[in-house]
Symmetry: C2
Subunit: 246 residues, 2 copies
Amino acid sequence: MQRFKLTIEYDGRPFVGWQRQDNGPSVQQTLEEAVFAVTQAKTLVYGCGRTDAGVHAEGQVAHVDIAKPLAAFRLQEALNAHLRPAPVAVVACEVAAPDFHARFDCTGRRYRYDIINRRTPLTWQSGLAWHVARPLDVEAMHTAAQILVGRHDFTTFRSVHCQSASPLKTLDQLDVVRTGDRIAIHAAARSFLHHQVRSMVGCLKLVGDGSWSANDLRRALEAADRTALGLNAPPDGLFFASAHYG
Amino acid sequence: MQRFKLTIEYDGRPFVGWQRQDNGPSVQQTLEEAVFAVTQAKTLVYGCGRTDAGVHAEGQVAHVDIAKPLAAFRLQEALNAHLRPAPVAVVACEVAAPDFHARFDCTGRRYRYDIINRRTPLTWQSGLAWHVARPLDVEAMHTAAQILVGRHDFTTFRSVHCQSASPLKTLDQLDVVRTGDRIAIHAAARSFLHHQVRSMVGCLKLVGDGSWSANDLRRALEAADRTALGLNAPPDGLFFASAHYG
């Protein structure tokens, strides 16, 4: 038996999310079916982050145990062949330690949230970014975002379905960067609460369009109360960017 | 009657191309139906470039005559409302001179061709870039591309269906730029032959993967013979970037 670490890219649009669910195809199930096609063995694929329906990944990480003797490169090629035509691809595959765990060993997660800020509706970017028509003040957003950086009780920014033991998290980075009409929000932490990135982005959007001041954001954080949340951003613009280990 | 200049963005995937055809929906028809919905008048929309099936645009330009009194901004908003859910959007709309012609007055056209150069299959970029698995030498491609810049007989790079009076064209720019695994090829000219950009990109890909030398490209150009073409790139990666006037 050999454990492998997989780095995975996917388009979240056709999926109910990362995790297996009864109501539709998941990324996990799609990967497990590809593993079965390659190995003829029912195998679980353990992911680093459970992305929601419609959320994408550039660098989701997962681990999987394979009994069939296969070099990492061959496994990657075989999985990618069987994943077609699903929009899921293994971008890297390497042998991992027998006790490597994609979720529990992860020491840093990065997400990117893409906004397209223009009046014109989206065309090919539809489903891959949040379309915000009102002009956003990116400087105000970035400045306010720094209020959220550090160790806080993020209850306000936490889904009622969140299974985390504690609402206390340390946010390492929250940068807001504009390139033309595209605004990218980069978030980094050891781990995030369920909906935390989307909830932070939703509130930063309110700051950007002038509905909220930076102080409103601070009060929402300090309330530590989900009902103080201004807005939860849609899944469309969210990408699981990368996971770090060790 | 007022003539307007429209700048248009679209995802080419669901369309048979820019031009009205009997075998499926075209971008032109989609726009003309939106104009009809706004004005109740059957109106022709004249485009700057007739993009093929599956080719996209960030800055296609068209002109249209509108009898109904409408400010440019209102026309843009109304067209975008009626274009939904088609992946076509008017990104700019301005009043034009009564004799302005999107095609005949155009003095410069820019196309961009996107390649994703990696073994891993595409996910959300599928249909929006050409997937090339073999590693491409971008420096060799860019150097060879300069052979094509200038005034030449581009018969080799011309579709048999091309309606241009002459195969002589002046290529002003052909730059090949890599950013990570994405390779962008920027082409600029007053006008292009049918399939010229895709044919140039196809041959540059052969240079990039080592199948062709720069001299092979030069010989293909000098042959002035369509059968000397190495490869026509697929429509997926091609974007009509912008059109210039005056």
